[in-house]
C-alpha cells in the first residue's frame, strides 16, 4: 500500500503528458497502465518477427509543439519525419495527387481541372485561417458559458475578442465553416469529383458521420490544424513508430521523478463522501492519492470503474448517452517488399511517401457511410494507407515494409451483435481487394495481416467502441460541451477526480492537449505553480 500525490489511470499519451506536467510541478505521481506495454493507442509493437507495428494511431502531426518543447521530448528520443502528401487512385486508371509544395499541388490539380487549381489557393487560405483560429483554443480550457465565475467570464471575453478580431466577413465564414458538411464546403470551391473526394477524407476520419452530414467540415479542421516543424497541415511519421511518442513522454515523466507502472489495471476508483481516495487494482492492491486523473474515456471511467451512486444523476445519464461510436477499423500488414502501383509514374516519390486512397468519388464516399448506418462494414471503404517503413528504416528489416491501413467505416458490432470470424475475414478481404485493384503484386507480398475491428481496439486498449477520438466530434460534444455540458473543465463531479483523456476538450488525435490542459487545472486547484504551456509561440 503506497501513497502518492496523484494517480493517473492509463499510460496513453494524454495520461503520460498529464503525469509529466504534474511531476514537473513537484508532485509524486504514478501512472498506471493495464497492459504490459505503455502507450495506449500510440504504440509500436512487434506483432511479426522484427517488424514494428504502429498498430493503432499511425501518423503524427497534432502533437502540440509547445508540449514537445516544454517536456523536451527530443531528449527522450522523439523524432518526427514529415512525409509527402497524398494520392487518390482512380477507377479509370489515372490518379490524383496532392503535394505540400504549392507549385506542384497547383500543377497537379490543373491536370484534372484548371478551375479547381485556381480555387485551391482560395481553399488553402480559407482553411488555414480556420486552423489558426482553432489552434489558439487547443491549449486552453473551454470556458463555461453558463457560469458567472470571473475565470470563465474572463476567458469568454478573451475568446470573444479572438472572434471579433476576425472581422465581420470572416466571422460569418467561421460560423458557416463550423456548421456545414465537408461536401458542401468543398462544393463551394471545387468542381471535379476526384479533387473533392481527395480533400473530403479528412472530414470523416474517425467519425460516425458521412461527408454530407453537417458538422463534418469541422472534422476536416481536426486533421489540418497540426504541424511538423512549424509547417501547418503537414503530417509526419514518428521514427520507430507511434510508440516513440509514448516512450518519450514516459521518459519525461521519469526524468521529473514520476513513476510509470504497467500491468496495473484499475478495477475501481475509490470514492468516500464525494471525495476520491485512490484506486483499487484488478489484482486487489489499493493505491491512495488525493488526486486521481483518468486517461480512460468517460464511459469507461464513470460507467465501469465507479459506482452510479457516487455520481449526480444527470451527469451519469449524460455520460451514458455520450456518443462514442466505433466507426473505423485497421489493417496492419507486413510486406515482403514494396508493392507497385502501375497508375503512378515509374519512380514516383509518392510511393510509400504519401497517404494512399483507393476511392475516387463523393458518391462512393457517402455509400461507404450508408453501409455503416446499416450496421456493417463498408464494402467499398475509404482507406487511408501509409507505408511508414519507406521513410523510417527502423520499422522493418531492410527491403521489407510495414503498411498501415486505416479503414472507414467499420462498426463496433454487426447489426447489433458481435462480429463472427467470417465477417472479420470479409472485412479484411474488402480492404485487401480494394488495394489489389490498384496494385497487382500487393497480395503476393503479404507476410502477415493484423485485422482490428473497433471491438478489438476496445478489448486491447480499453477505448469504448475503439473510437479514435474517445467520442464523436459533433457540435454537441465539442468545446464547453465536451464531454458533458458543465463538466468540460477536466473536473469530474467528485472532488479530487479529473479527466485527461481525449473525451475532453479538444479531443483526440495524439495532441496531448487534453492531458496538458487537465494538468493545468489540477495545479490550479492545488494552488501550485503552473508548469503547462499555454500560449502559441508559432502563430
Amino acid at each position: 500500500m503506497k501513497k502518492y500525490d496523484a494517480i493517473v489511470i492509463g499510460a496513453g499519451h494524454n495520461g503520460l503528458a498529464n503525469a509529466a506536467f504534474l511531476a514537473k510541478a513537484g508532485l509524486n505521481v504514478v501512472c498506471l497502465e493495464k497492459n504490459d506495454y505503455i502507450g495506449g493507442a500510440a504504440v509500436s509493437r512487434e506483432l511479426y518477427k522484427d517488424w514494428k507495428y504502429s498498430n493503432c494511431s499511425y501518423v503524427c502531426s497534432l502533437l502540440r509543439p509547445e508540449i514537445y518543447r516544454d517536456l523536451e521530448l527530443h531528449k527522450h528520443g522523439l523524432q518526427v519525419t514529415p512525409y509527402g502528401g497524398s494520392v487518390q487512385f482512380m477507377e479509370n486508371g489515372d490518379y490524383f495527387a496532392s503535394y505540400h509544395d504549392p507549385e506542384a499541388a497547383h500543377r497537379e490539380i490543373a491536370r484534372h481541372s484548371k478551375h479547381d487549381a485556381d480555387a485551391y489557393t482560395r481553399y488553402s487560405t480559407d482553411t488555414m485561417r480556420q486552423c489558426r483560429l482553432i489552434r489558439d483554443f487547443l491549449l486552453r480550457t473551454a470556458p463555461d458559458p453558463t457560469s458567472f465565475k470571473p475565470k470563465d467570464i474572463k476567458e469568454l471575453i478573451l475568446l470573444g475578442n479572438k472572434f471579433l478580431e476576425l472581422g465581420e466577413d470572416r466571422l460569418y465564414e467561421t460560423l458557416r465553416f463550423w456548421t456545414m458538411s465537408v461536401a458542401d464546403y468543398l462544393d463551394e470551391y471545387f468542381e471535379k469529383d476526384v479533387v473533392k473526394t481527395a480533400f473530403s477524407g479528412s472530414g470523416i476520419i474517425g467519425t460516425a458521420l458521412g461527408i454530407h452530414s453537417p458538422g463534418t467540415a469541422y472534422v476536416l479542421l481536426h486533421h489540418y490544424m497540426g504541424d511538423v516543424d512549424g509547417n501547418v497541415g503537414t503530417w509526419g511519421f514518428a521514427r520507430g513508430g507511434m510508440g516513440a511518442v509514448s516512450d518519450s513522454l514516459a521518459g519525461a515523466v521519469q526524468a521529473y521523478g514520476g513513476e510509470v507502472r504497467s500491468e496495473a489495471g484499475v478495477d475501481q476508483i475509490i470514492v468516500k463522501h464525494n471525495r476520491v481516495k485512490g484506486v483499487a487494482l484488478e489484482n486487489g492492491e489499493e493505491i491512495y492519492a488525493p488526486v486521481v486523473v483518468s486517461n480512460m474515456d468517460v464511459k469507461r471511467t464513470f460507467l465501469n470503474c465507479m459506482d452510479e451512486k457516487d455520481l449526480p444523476e444527470n451527469f451519469y445519464k449524460r455520460v451514458k448517452n455520450f456518443k462514442i461510436r466505433g466507426s473505423s477499423g485497421k489493417l496492419n500488414i507486413a510486406l515482403d517488399g514494396m508493392p507497385t502501383f502501375p497508375a503512378l509514374p515509374k519512380g514516383s516519390e509518392l510511393i510509400g511517401n504519401a497517404d494512399m486512397h483507393f476511392i475516387d468519388s463523393m458518391e462512393r464516399m457517402e455509400l461507404a457511410y450508408d453501409d455503416w448506418k446499416d450496421g456493417t462494414w463498408s464494402k467499398d471503404p475509404y482507406i487511408d494507407c501509409t507505408i511508414p517503413s519507406a521513410v523510417d528504416p527502423t520499422m522493418t528489416p531492410p527491403g521489407k515494409h510495414f503498411m498501415s491501413c486505416f479503414v472507414q467505416y467499420c462498426p463496433a458490432q454487426i447489426e447489433g451483435r458481435a462480429w463472427t470470424s467470417e465477417e472479420r475475414d470479409g472485412f479484411t478481404k474488402s480492404v485487401i481487394d480494394q488495394i489489389s485493384n490498384y496494385s497487382p503484386d500487393f497480395k503476393d507480398l503479404i507476410l502477415h495481416v493484423e485485422t482490428r475491428t473497433p471491438q478489438d481496439i476496445e478489448d486491447q486498449i480499453g477505448i469504448t467502441e475503439g473510437n479514435i477520438f474517445h467520442g464523436e466530434l459533433t457540435m454537441d460534444q465539442l468545446l464547453f460541451n465536451r464531454p458533458v455540458p458543465g463538466y468540460a473543465q477536466y473536473r469530474a463531479p467528485v472532488n479530487g477526480l479529473y479527466m485527461c483523456g481525449s473525451s475532453t476538450h479538444p479531443g483526440g488525435g495524439v495532441m496531448a492537449a487534453p492531458g496538458a490542459n487537465a494538468a493545468r487545472e489540477i495545479l490550479y486547484d492545488l494552488k501550485l505553480k503552473n508548469t503547462v504551456p499555454e500560449n502559441f509561440g508559432d502563430d
Binding site: T146, L175, E188, L209, P214, D476, F480
Partner: protein, 513 residues
C-alpha cells in the same frame, strides 16, 4: 407607360403580401407584381381535377407568426384547428400526438413526450423573438447589433444553467440520437423524425435536425390548422388586407428584370416591356432568382455572386394530390381521424433510409409522407361524396439522375402506391385522378429556384446571421433600394410571414431616417 410608386414588390407570395400590406399601412404607395394569374405564390388553392381542388404546395398552417396576424388584423377562417398528428401503423395501433399529449404509447414514452415538448417549446420560444426581427450583424461596433446580441445571451442565461447547457448541446444535434435516448415507440420516433426533416435535404441522423424541429415549433408551438378553402384563402385574406390598405396588385405581370442606375434600383421591367418606377424594389422571389436573374450577376460584386450561387436550395419534397371517389379504409380509424394530420413514417431508420437515395439523386423507393384529407372538414374542395388527399412526399430530389423523365416519375408514383397500399389496402379503387408535382414542377409553377419550399436549405450554415448569404442577412441587398422579403431571407420558409414583416420594418426604418 410610366408609373411611379414608393415601393414595388416582386411576387405576391404570402411574404410579399404581408410586406406590401405593412408598407401601405405606413402610407407608402405600393405595387405588387405577380407572374401567375392568381396571388399567393406557393400558398394557393387550385383545381387539379375537375371539381377537385387542393392547396397546391403548402397545405397546413402551423408557423404563421402571431405578430403578423396581429399587425394585419387577420381573421382567418379555419376548417379545423389544433389538429392531431397520427402516425400510421400497419395494424390499428396508431400513435397520435397533439401538443404535449401522446396516445398509443407506453407510460414512460408519454411522460418523456411531455418533458420533450415542454423543453422544445421553451427553446422555440427563446428563438421566436429573434425570428421576428432582422438578425443583428456580427463583429460590428453598432450599438443596436451589440444590444440584440447581448439580449440573446441574456435570454439564454435567464433560462437557468441547466436549460442553457441543454440548449447549447442540442442546437447543433441530430434528432435521431435525441429521440433514441428518450423514446421507445418506433412510430413516435418515426413521426417526430419526419417532423424534423420535412422540406429539407436532411435525414434524421443528420446533425442540424433539432434546429429544424425547433423552427417548426416556433410559430404556434407546433399547433396545426387547416384553413377553410385551402391555403389560397390565407393568401386571399392577405391580399384583401393589402388592397384595403391601398396596395395595387397586378397578376399576370412577370418581372423580367430589376432596373438599375448607378448601383441603385430604379424600378422593374416586365416581360411585356412595361416599366414601373420606384426607388424601392422588394423581391419576394428567392435570392438566386432575384440576384442572378432579375438583377444579373454582372451588377453585383463577384464575391457576393459567388455566395448567392452557393446557396443550397435543391428541393426534395414532392406534392401529391389525389381525387378520391370515397375515403380509403384505414384500419382502426374513426371518422374524425381522417380529419387529422396523418404520417407514414414507421420508424427512425425507415425515415433515414428514405433519405439515402436522395444523396445519390434518386427518389425514395419507400417514401415518407405527410397526408391530409382536407375535404373531410371542408366540403368546398371536392364534389359531394368525393374527397381530396393532399400529401407531401419525400424524398424526391430536384436534380434527379434522370432529370425526372417519364420513367422516373412512374417509378416514384409506383413507390407511392406501394407504400399507400400497405396502410390503405383499398386505395386504388378510390382513386379518381391524381397529380404528382416534383420539385421541378414546383419550380416551373411557382418560380422557386430548385423547387425548394424554404427558398434555401434550413441549416445552421444558412441560418440567421448568414441567411441568405453572409453579410446580407438584414434584407437589404448590396444594391441601394433593393430588398428581399421572401423565405430565402431570415428566418426562412413555412407560411410564417416573418420574412415579409421583418423586411417591411427594415424598409420603413430606413425611410424614416
Amino acid at each position: 407607360m410610366i408609373d411611379k410608386y414608393d415601393a414595388i414588390v416582386i411576387g405576391a407570395g404570402h411574404n410579399g403580401l404581408v410586406c406590401s400590406a405593412l408598407l401601405a399601412k405606413a402610407g407608402k404607395k405600393v405595387l405588387v407584381l405577380e407572374a401567375n394569374n392568381q396571388v399567393g405564390g406557393a400558398a394557393i388553392t387550385r383545381e387539379f381535377a375537375e371539381g377537385y381542388s387542393a392547396s397546391a404546395c403548402a397545405h397546413l398552417l402551423y408557423q404563421l407568426q402571431p405578430q403578423v396576424e396581429k399587425d394585419l388584423n387577420l381573421n382567418l377562417k379555419l376548417a379545423s384547428k389544433n389538429m392531431s398528428t397520427i402516425v400510421l401503423s400497419k395494424g390499428s395501433e396508431h400513435v397520435s400526438y397533439c401538443g404535449s399529449k401522446v396516445t398509443g404509447v407506453n407510460d414512460s414514452d408519454q411522460k418523456n413526450f411531455e418533458e420533450f415538448t415542454k423543453r422544445m417549446t421553451k427553446f422555440a420560444d427563446l428563438l421566436k423573438p429573434y425570428l421576428n426581427k432582422a438578425p443583428p450583424r456580427l463583429g460590428t461596433k453598432n450599438k443596436k447589433d451589440l444590444f440584440t446580441l447581448a439580449m440573446l445571451g441574456f435570454d439564454l442565461r435567464r433560462m437557468g444553467q441547466v436549460e442553457m447547457r441543454e440548449f447549447l448541446r442540442l442546437i447543433g444535434m441530430n434528432i435521431y440520437d435525441e429521440l433514441d435516448e428518450r423514446f421507445e415507440n418506433p412510430l413516435l420516433k418515426g413521426g417526430l423524425s419526419l417532423d424534423s426533416v420535412l422540406g429539407t435535404h436532411l435525414g434524421p441522423r443528420s446533425p442540424n435536425t433539432i434546429l429544424t424541429y425547433l423552427y417548426r415549433m416556433a410559430g404556434k408551438h407546433g399547433e396545426i390548422s387547416l384553413p377553410e378553402g385551402g391555403m389560397g384563402s390565407v393568401s386571399k385574406a392577405l391580399s384583401d388586407c393589402a388592397e384595403a390598405a391601398g396596395v395595387e396588385i397586378k397578376t399576370n405581370a412577370q418581372v423580367k428584370k430589376v432596373l438599375l442606375a448607378k448601383g441603385a434600383a430604379t424600378g422593374v421591367e416586365l416581360n411585356d416591356g412595361t416599366v414601373y418606377n420606384s426607388e424601392i424594389v422588394v423581391s419576394n422571389a428567392d435570392p438566386k432568382k432575384t440576384m442572378l436573374e432579375l438583377v444579373g450577376a454582372r451588377n453585383v460584386e463577384t464575391r457576393f455572386t459567388h455566395r448567392v450561387d452557393n446557396i443550397r436550395m435543391k428541393g426534395n419534397a414532392a406534392k401529391l394530390h389525389i381525387a378520391l371517389n370515397k375515403l380509403p379504409t384505414i384500419k382502426g380509424f374513426s371518422d374524425a381521424d381522417y380529419g387529422q394530420r396523418i404520417l407514414i413514417a414507421p420508424d427512425e431508420s425507415y425515415v433515414e433510409k428514405a433519405f439515402n437515395p436522395a444523396k445519390y439523386r434518386k427518389s425514395s423507393p419507400q417514401p415518407i409522407m405527410e397526408i391530409t384529407f382536407p375535404s373531410v372538414n371542408d366540403d368546398s374542395l371536392a364534389p359531394s361524396g368525393g374527397h381530396v388527399m393532399s400529401a407531401i412526399v419525400q424524398y424526391a430530389p430536384y436534380k434527379h439522375k434522370s432529370d425526372w423523365n417519364e420513367e422516373a416519375r412512374n417509378n416514384f408514383k409506383n413507390a407511392i402506391y406501394n407504400v399507400l397500399k400497405q396502410y390503405m389496402p383499398d386505395i386504388e379503387s378510390c382513386i379518381h385522378a391524381m397529380e404528382l408535382l416534383t420539385p421541378v414542377d414546383l419550380e416551373n409553377e411557382f418560380h422557386i429556384t430548385g423547387g425548394h419550399w424554404h427558398h434555401g436549405e434550413f441549416t445552421l450554415d444558412q441560418f440567421m446571421f448568414v441567411r441568405p448569404v453572409a453579410g446580407s442577412a438584414q434584407y437589404q441587398m448590396p444594391i441601394d433600394g433593393l430588398y428581399l422579403c421572401g423565405a430565402g431571407s431570415h428566418p426562412g420558409g413555412g407560411i410564417s410571414g416573418a420574412s415579409g414583416r421583418n423586411a417591411a420594418q427594415v424598409i420603413l426604418k430606413k425611410g424614416n431616417k
